[in-house]
């Protein structure tokens, strides 16, 4: 594959399925013959903390971390986390953001201000015009389980035609990493995600 490097940043909250999503994407990238690197949050930070995973593939990729301003795609499983990691975006970056905000308990406790979807949207739009809020939460529940959110969001990315990995390869990879009893739900989530992605495809600049 003659792609130099492609960088995806996936962020969210510990327990939302960021690592599983990265596993699915890395295997798919491998099956499509890319050289692959990731950096992931494991351990202490997983206990409900902010998590970020970096995925890079292409023939020139060596290190696991993405330089700031160099992420082609940022997928956020929780909306405010997209804004927390804004420095990885540039004016072409595509943000796919689950439109749910989960306020950290400490913020609630200390009665601090927490940004809403509007302020997150207008902030990120200063950086990139490709900011898309997606009803991931609702769609995952509609598919049958909130835990299919990660796969739904991968589906949106695939549908938007912005990912240089084949849909078939991703389907293989999903089958590999999703437990058998959750396969059907995730298949629905993935396909619904693709349909959603096709809808936003035309709006990407």
């Amino acid at each position: 594959m003659d792609l130099k490097s492609f960088n995806i940043l996936m962020v969210g909250i510990g327990g939302q399925g960021v690592i599983r999503a990265i596993q699915i994407l890395t295997w798919a990238a491998l099956l499509d013959n890319y050289k692959v690197r990731t950096a992931e949050t494991h351990g202490m930070a997983q206990r409900g903390g902010s998590v970020s995973s970096f995925l890079r593939f292409g023939y020139e990729v060596e290190g696991p971390l993405i330089p700031s301003g160099n992420s082609q795609i940022i997928i956020a499983l929780e909306a405010s986390e997209a804004a927390r990691y804004f420095r990885y975006a540039n004016s072409n970056t595509i943000f796919l953001i689950n439109n749910k905000i989960i306020v950290p308990p400490t913020v609630q406790l200390l009665n601090m201000e927490y940004p809403d979807l509007n302020s997150i949207g207008s902030f990120l739009k200063q950086i990139s015009t490709n900011v898309f809020f997606i009803k991931g939460h609702e769609e995952a529940l509609k598919a049958g389980d909130l835990r299919s959110l990660n796969v739904y969001m991968i589906g949106v990315l695939v549908g938007s035609s912005q990912l240089p990995i084949k849909q078939k390869t991703l389907e293989n990879s999903i089958r590999r990493f999703i437990p058998r009893k959750a396969q059907e739900i995730n298949k629905i989530a993935f396909n619904n995600g693709i349909e959603k992605g096709k809808l936003i495809k035309g709006d990407i600049k």
């Binding site: 909250i13 510990g14 990265i22 596993q23 890395t26 295997w27 491998l30 890319y34 050289k35 692959v36 690197r37 990731t38 950096a39 992931e40 949050t41 494991h42 351990g43 202490m44 930070a45 997983q46 206990r47 409900g48 903390g49 902010s50 020139e60 990729v61 060596e62 290190g63 696991p64 971390l65 993405i66 330089p67 700031s68 301003g69 160099n70 405010s80 986390e81 804004a83 927390r84 804004f86 420095r87 540039n90 950290p104 308990p105 400490t106 913020v107 609630q108 406790l109 200390l110 601090m112 201000e113 927490y114 940004p115 302020s119 997150i120 902030f123 200063q126 950086i127 909130l146």
Partner: protein
């Protein structure tokens, strides 16, 4: 059950491995038999991956040991018996093992012996960011460091051949981004070591008393000299010499590990990878002198890129001095890169641009940055530690005093944050009881001294400090937060569950018996359910008021483990709700207890329980003083 991808035997298969899985695979390929370790982020997945291989490779003899010192000794016993052996630990674990390690370095290895030290720049999951390459310098033991998962697999496999060839221990140093990063890896052949195994009755070597150790030390020095001479031919060291100049400058880089891979990315960014000289190290101690001399003679400036301490830099400067080149060659390192934290890719770009007069500027930050308050890790919904700390706080309030809560390493350390603010010290594994021993000698009776630690931590290194308290009559209350799991590092079993790393049944060790065996009397021992809040408060008060060394075991299975058990047994956990008629919006459950499943509805000014995250521990029912939280029948 199909073979996991890291365990397939066909060489040449191309798979994705997490750094730690790649290390485990390399260990398997090397023909290792004995593996021992103690869980610690970022190292834990290495042994657990070996455990997943065990059903298919029954020659593996692996265990979670009780602490890193024992793990090291277990592995070293293997080496003495001519078996390839590995000891796995996080960086601070090597401090625990260092007593054995420093002297084992003298006697050296018989069967290949490698110690994995997983360092953690930026303290992602650690209490410090110590640089364990210094253990190599300290013990005169070579230190290997891989840059990618592929190299990790290949290098650790090679480390066992190397260890046997030179009869030396090897430190295999990694950093978090290697351990917890995935990469594509081509699998190699799984070696079949054909040799006689058994103990070697060579007392002159294994009995390290003074008369032997003086001789062993001479051998150690000879060994280091041989390794040092071999360093120029070390297969994972490589030198690229470029005659080209970048903006009129002949630049050389020296790097290893994850920083090396980010250096390559940065050079590619500028399109100058082939225009500079690069010494890439797979062995960071001792350094290859001839390769260094070649580099010295080819460049005007050297930049050493390494996270944490100027370890390589100082040795390079020393060698330049010995070569009489200290004035002729500029050697940079910590004057450009910081001595703390991990290096982000843009730092390489900036510093490379700086040293070679290249163009780079960071993408400008938007004018009005939105503030996102931090999202810290917290105790989970239904966590029994929250209940224990809440009870401790209630007793403190009731007795109108302030406890000294000396605490320890584990999930429960997260109770330091609001709202619990339940601990006052955390230094090292088992340190809670040791510190409490000392604090109790000074602190007046008005401030009872508590030592609060988890079950696994108690087994790890709490026991000697408890015996110390009994023996010296230091007046402390030890609270063992027993959730039957080593949760923070991935729910490993421990002697209390009696389940071994292989999931085979071992022998259980009962904490109550152990505590009594340490000399704590039965009257001074309490065993209570952490989630029975009212009882906890009563009994804790009793324990605080009692005299002498007291042990309070607060026991309840980790809520994550319990909820998985419920799922597998198809048990529906209790459904807990807030009666909005009774809730007056006092916020005690939110602001004092702080379970993430309890949220406050700002419009209605009432607490609410999120049903999809609540694990049904029912503790909040007792926390609510208005009887507004109830279990739905």
């Amino acid at each position: 059950m199909s073979l996991p991808h890291f365990a397939v035997s066909n060489p040449g298969s191309h798979v994705i491995l997490l750094g730690n899985e790649a290390i485990a695979r390399g260990i398997l390929e090397a023909g290792v038999i004995i593996g021992a370790g103690y869980p610690g982020t970022p190292s834990s997945e290495i042994l657990s991956t070996l455990a997943e291989m065990y059903p298919y490779f029954s020659h593996l003899k692996i265990e979670w040991s009780i602490n890193e010192k024992v793990a090291f000794e277990v592995a070293y016993g293997g080496s003495m018996s001519n078996v390839r052996s590995i000891a796995v630990m996080k960086h601070v674990g090597l401090n625990v093992a260092s007593d054995a390690f420093m002297t084992a370095a003298y006697a050296g290895a018989r069967g290949g012996m490698v110690v994995v030290s997983a360092d953690d720049p930026n303290c992602y999951s650690s209490q410090n960011e110590q640089d364990n390459r210094y253990y190599g310098l300290h013990a005169l033991v070579p230190v290997f460091e891989p840059a990618t998962p592929q190299e990790a697999k290949d290098l650790i496999k090679y480390a066992f051949d190397f260890s046997e060839r030179f009869q030396t221990l090897v430190i295999f140093r990694t950093t978090t981004r290697l351990n917890h990063g995935r990469g594509d890896v081509v699998l190699g052949e799984i070696k079949n070591i054909n040799r006689e195994y058994g103990f070697d009755w060579d007392r002159s070597r294994w009995v390290c008393l003074p008369s032997h150790s003086r001789i062993l030390r001479l051998r150690l020095l000879e060994r280091l000299k041989e390794i040092s001479d071999f360093a120029d031919n070390f297969p994972f060291n490589s030198l690229q010499i470029s005659k080209k100049k970048v903006n009129g400058k002949k630049i050389g880089f020296i790097s290893a590990g994850v920083p090396y891979s980010h250096l390559i990315d940065a050079l590619n960014h500028f399109g100058i990878k082939d225009d500079v000289s690069i010494l890439k190290l797979g062995m960071v101690y001792p350094l290859p002198k001839n390769l260094l001399k070649k580099l010295f003679s080819s460049v005007d400036k050297i930049l050493v890129i390494e996270e944490l301490e100027p370890f390589i830099e100082n040795i390079v400067k020393q060698i330049a001095y010995e070569e009489g080149l200290s004035k002729e060659i500029e050697i940079h390192g910590k004057d450009m890169f910081p001595q703390n934290g991990e290096f982000l890719p843009e730092l390489y770009l900036e510093n490379l641009a700086d040293i070679m007069d290249l163009e780079y500027s960071r993408i400008p930050v938007p004018n009005d940055i939105i503030i996102i308050p931090p999202r810290l890790p917290i105790l989970c919904s239904g966590c029994s530690h929250r209940a224990s700390f809440y009870a401790i706080k209630q007793v403190e309030k009731k007795l109108k005093t302030k406890f000294v809560n000396s605490s320890d390493i584990g999930c429960y350390t997260l109770a330091v944050y609001k709202p619990l603010e339940g601990l006052d010290t955390e230094v090292c594994m088992g340190g809670s009881i040791g510190l409490a021993n000392g604090i109790s000698k000074i602190q007046s009776n008005e401030n009872p001294v508590l030592a609060i630690l988890g079950d696994s931590t108690f087994f790890h290194s709490g026991i000697p400090a408890l015996i110390n308290a009994v023996y010296n009559q230091n007046n402390i209350l030890v609270v063992i937060l027993d959730n039957r799991s080593t949760s923070m590092t991935g729910f490993q079993d421990n002697p209390e569950t009696g389940i071994k790393i292989t999931k085979e049944v071992g022998t259980k060790v009962n904490i109550e018996d152990l505590v009594k065996g340490c000399g704590v009397s039965s009257e001074n021992l309490w065993v209570e359910d952490s989630n029975n809040l009212k009882n906890m408060i009563d009994k804790l008060e009793e324990a605080v008021k009692a005299k002498g060394v007291r042990v309070f075991i607060s026991r309840h299975t980790c809520s994550l483990v319990e909820s998985n058990e419920f799922k597998s047994k198809e048990i529906v956990p209790p459904i807990v709700k807030v009666d909005s008629e009774k809730c007056i919006g006092c916020l005690i459950c939110v602001n004092k207890f702080g379970c993430p499943s309890i949220i406050f509805d700002q419009k209605e000014k009432k607490a609410k329980i999120e049903q999809d995250t609540c694990r049904g521990c029912k503790v909040c029912i007792d926390v609510c003083i208005h009887d507004a939280i109830y279990e739905e029948e």
